[in-house]
Amino acid sequence: MSFFARFAQNRGALVGLIILMAIILMAILAPLLFPESPWRMVQRPFLPPLETEGFPLGTDTMGRNVAAGLMHGAWVSLLIGLVSTTVALAIGVPLGAIAGYYGGLVDDALMRFTEFFQTIPNFALAIVLVAIMQPSITSIVLAIAIVSWPPVARLVRAEFLSLRHREYVEAARLVGQTNATIILRQILPNTLSPIIVLASLMVATAILLESALSFLGLGDPNVMSWGYMIGAARTVIRQAWWLSFFPGVAILLTVLALNLVGEGLDDALNPKLARERS
């Protein structure tokens, strides 16, 4: 069975993929449909949804177009989710690979380091980092990457630990392959499936983290994001609940879609488990 056929067997994963496509489309179309900055005040504030033409989701406390904010916010969420996950992988994969392959003292030292970062409450550290570096896309990406690499390192280490004494790896050592070749050619390719699955879930977590940071007022002040929209409308929730409601649904759907896609990838990449699960 082909990779996609196995993926598509998981109905939820297919739904997730469709939602995800829609959100990516939103992000791409945002500058075309709403060429004006989502920060511009364009109407009187507190317009309810579905009442004024051109403002399907109404306006916010400052008279900004909620629909425009939602579309532009998709772009920021996806961007931060992807970039911060890439950075986290770039830290976690080499660390985990080296710790797992060499073992011994190297492993001990690297794992103490990883455990340290795992002990620190994630979100609190992210807050402190962004607050001190000053909120910007860069600082947010860095903060999210710094708090999310430990699980990657642990996963890769565990895979390497179990694979490094696998007979084919020992055979590679015996025929005289160098450590670099063994790590890159023999072991790493066999750890890719779980890394890909974890990465798809990490993008989801990163989007949640970003929205939480923006909600607390730690978003990049130059870009519109879903978390910011909810945070800004928090104080007027009694009068205008919809201002918080729609961006929240957008986050929920994006994160849900990514999780579903992650599960589908898991099924497709680890066919044996999928059969037991269904």
Binding site: E167, Y168, A171, L174, V175, G176, Q177, T181, P189
Partner: protein, 538 residues
């Protein structure tokens, strides 16, 4: 005739879609009488355990009986509801399994797990259950039963756990005991003890035993009757003695021949003047690393091991698990570094090599691994897997791949298989690929670590034949590590017997096998199931 307890009639069990065949067993019929031991013999995939699982109502998901009946004491078990079936399990039919290490709940005390059998069938008070558990543990011969009853499974050895399993199965005096390969995972000497125990209990309680095994030696040892299965069908069925002495089917004959007799291959004298490998006073201690607050532990895996082997010779290292035989092999190929002692290969000391020097010298000693499913990278084409060694040692890619093709031809797989991936091959074929890979670097010495242990008996014979053939053609020097004295006797010129990290006995294969000097070697030989019976009939 005898009093039939269990009667299997035209039983067919279907496998789920996508399996390698449609039926696990097809149109199988046999009986088990009260008080007899029925051995169901077959290699992996023969479907030998399926009927037993069906009658216990323990078939894996997706597998179901499609035709026939399983009549136990007048009742067709296939027609029972789950509740009726459950009432039978443990009470009238007991079962023990292959893997004693995982068959017990790791978080429950042994006594509680035995007590559960009574609880499941509402027998006795909790206090009486523990008293009975203690009696049972005593009966199955566990040392210090008062202590064992309060122990957790991890505190017991494999043999002891299997005894606990037997105690559990016997708790309610079932009429039928199903033993599914109960000795396969155990060391030879433990295996013999468990076999004795089962035979003994069977006589004392007069129950029927359905004994599932791949080993005809076990049949010779305990069976009343035997049923030989292959690919889901019965090949031969009859009185054990009759089948052993006059097998009618070739397949049965091949299985019986795997029982060691005293027939030895012709001994060859190798030239001892210039030894290829000299092992001197090798020491290796494994330490579990302690922390700041916990003590470390030591295991002497190799304790002053010395021997020499000549060029072109095959030396067998034989021992049970924990004897240090594998550590010895891993030291020789330098996957482990010995603590002290010397390993001289053609006069060069391998122990002192490190880093880049070691990497460059590695080609001189190569290894054939145990598990054909783990020894090949699933993502590397077979040809490339063989060529990787020469490439790492500076041969150009084109040339290396061409030579890999030739090697595949040599081990009987054909040049075309180079383009395929490991999962397209069977276990025996993969082992051939592993041999080709070991040969690719023209090593001076090959270490074969349990190289045929994971294979079925019939495949084992083919691989041994291939090795024998290659030895002749390429005059290989082979260090053959195995737990199986029978296999060692077939292929080795010299045999070294190890126990607890030391060499117990060292001599020509003939001498060790036919006139062992040490008590431990004799114990190992006597423990081989069926050997005594075969020798008696020969």
């Amino acid at each position: 005739m005898t009093d039939t307890l269990l009667s299997i009639r035209h039983l067919s069990i279907a496998l789920p879609h996508g399996a390698d065949r449609d039926f696990a067993v097809e149109d199988v019929s046999y009986d088990v009488a009260r008080g007899e031991i029925m051995c169901v013999v077959g290699e992996s995939g023969s479907g030998k355990s399926m009927a037993a699982n069906a009658l216990m109502g323990l078939l894996p998901k997706g597998v179901r009986a499609t035709a026939g009946e399983v009549v136990f004491d007048g009742q067709d078990l296939l027609q029972l509801t789950e509740t009726q079936h459950r009432a039978l399990r443990g009470l009238r039919i007991g079962m023990i399994f292959q893997e004693p290490m995982t068959a017990l709940n790791p978080l429950m005390r042994v006594g509680a797990q035995i007590g559960e059998v009574f609880e499941a069938h509402n027998r006795l008070t909790p206090r009486e259950r523990q008293a009975r558990a203690l009696e049972l543990l005593t009966e199955v011969g566990i040392p210090q039963p008062e202590k064992a009853i309060r122990a957790y499974p991890f505190e017991l050895s494999g043999g002891q756990r299997q005894r606990v399993m037997i105690a559990m199965a016997l708790a309610l005096e079932p009429e039928l005991l199903i033993a599914d390969e109960p000795t396969t995972a155990l060391d030879v000497t433990t295996q013999a003890q468990i076999l004795d125990l089962i035979g003994d209990l069977q006589r004392r309680h007069g129950m029927a035993v359905m004994f599932i095994t791949h080993d005809f030696g076990v049949v010779a040892e305990i069976a009343t009757r035997v049923c030989v299965m292959r690919e889901g069908r019965i090949v031969e069925l009859g009185e054990a003695r009759e089948v052993l002495e006059h097998p009618r089917h070739d397949y049965t004959r091949a299985l019986i021949e795997a029982i060691p007799s005293n027939a030895m291959p012709a001994a060859r004298e190798a030239d001892q003047s210039a030894p290829l490998l000299e092992v001197r006073h090798l020491q290796k201690v494994f330490r579990s690393r302690g922390g700041l607050f916990k003590p470390s532990r030591e295991v002497h895996a190799l304790d002053d091991v010395s021997f020499t082997m000549a060029r072109g010779e095959t030396v067998g290292i034989v021992g049970e698990s924990g004897s240090g035989k594998s550590t010895l092999g891993r030291c020789v190929v330098r996957l482990e570094r010995p603590d002290s002692g010397e390993l001289l290969l053609d006069g060069v000391d391998l122990t002192s090599l490190k880093g880049e020097f070691l990497r460059r010298e590695r080609r001189r000693v190569q290894m054939i691994f145990q598990d054909p499913y783990a020894s090949l990278n699933p993502r590397t084409r077979v040809g490339m897997a063989i060529a990787q060694g020469p490439i790492a040692n500076g041969v150009n890619r084109q040339q290396a791949l061409k030579e890999a093709g030739d090697l595949l031809d040599l081990v009987g797989l054909g040049v075309a298989s180079a383009e395929r991936f490991p999962h397209e091959f069977s276990g025996g074929q993969r082992q051939r690929i592993g041999i080709a890979r070991a040969l690719a670097l023209n090593p001076e010495l090959i270490v074969a670590d349990e190289a045929v242990s994971a294979l079925d008996v019939s495949i084992q014979a083919q691989i041994l034949e291939l090795l024998e053939d290659l030895k002749q053609k390429l005059s290989l020097s082979l260090l053959f590590i195995t737990h199986d004295l029978r296999v060692a006797a077939q292929i080795c010129d010299h045999i070294i017997v190890m126990q607890h990290g030391r060499i117990v006995e060292h001599g020509t294969a003939e001498a060790v096998f036919l006139s062992p000097q040490e008590a431990y070697t004799r114990e190992l030989l006597e423990a081989i199931p069926g050997r005594a019976q075969v020798l008696a009939t020969a």
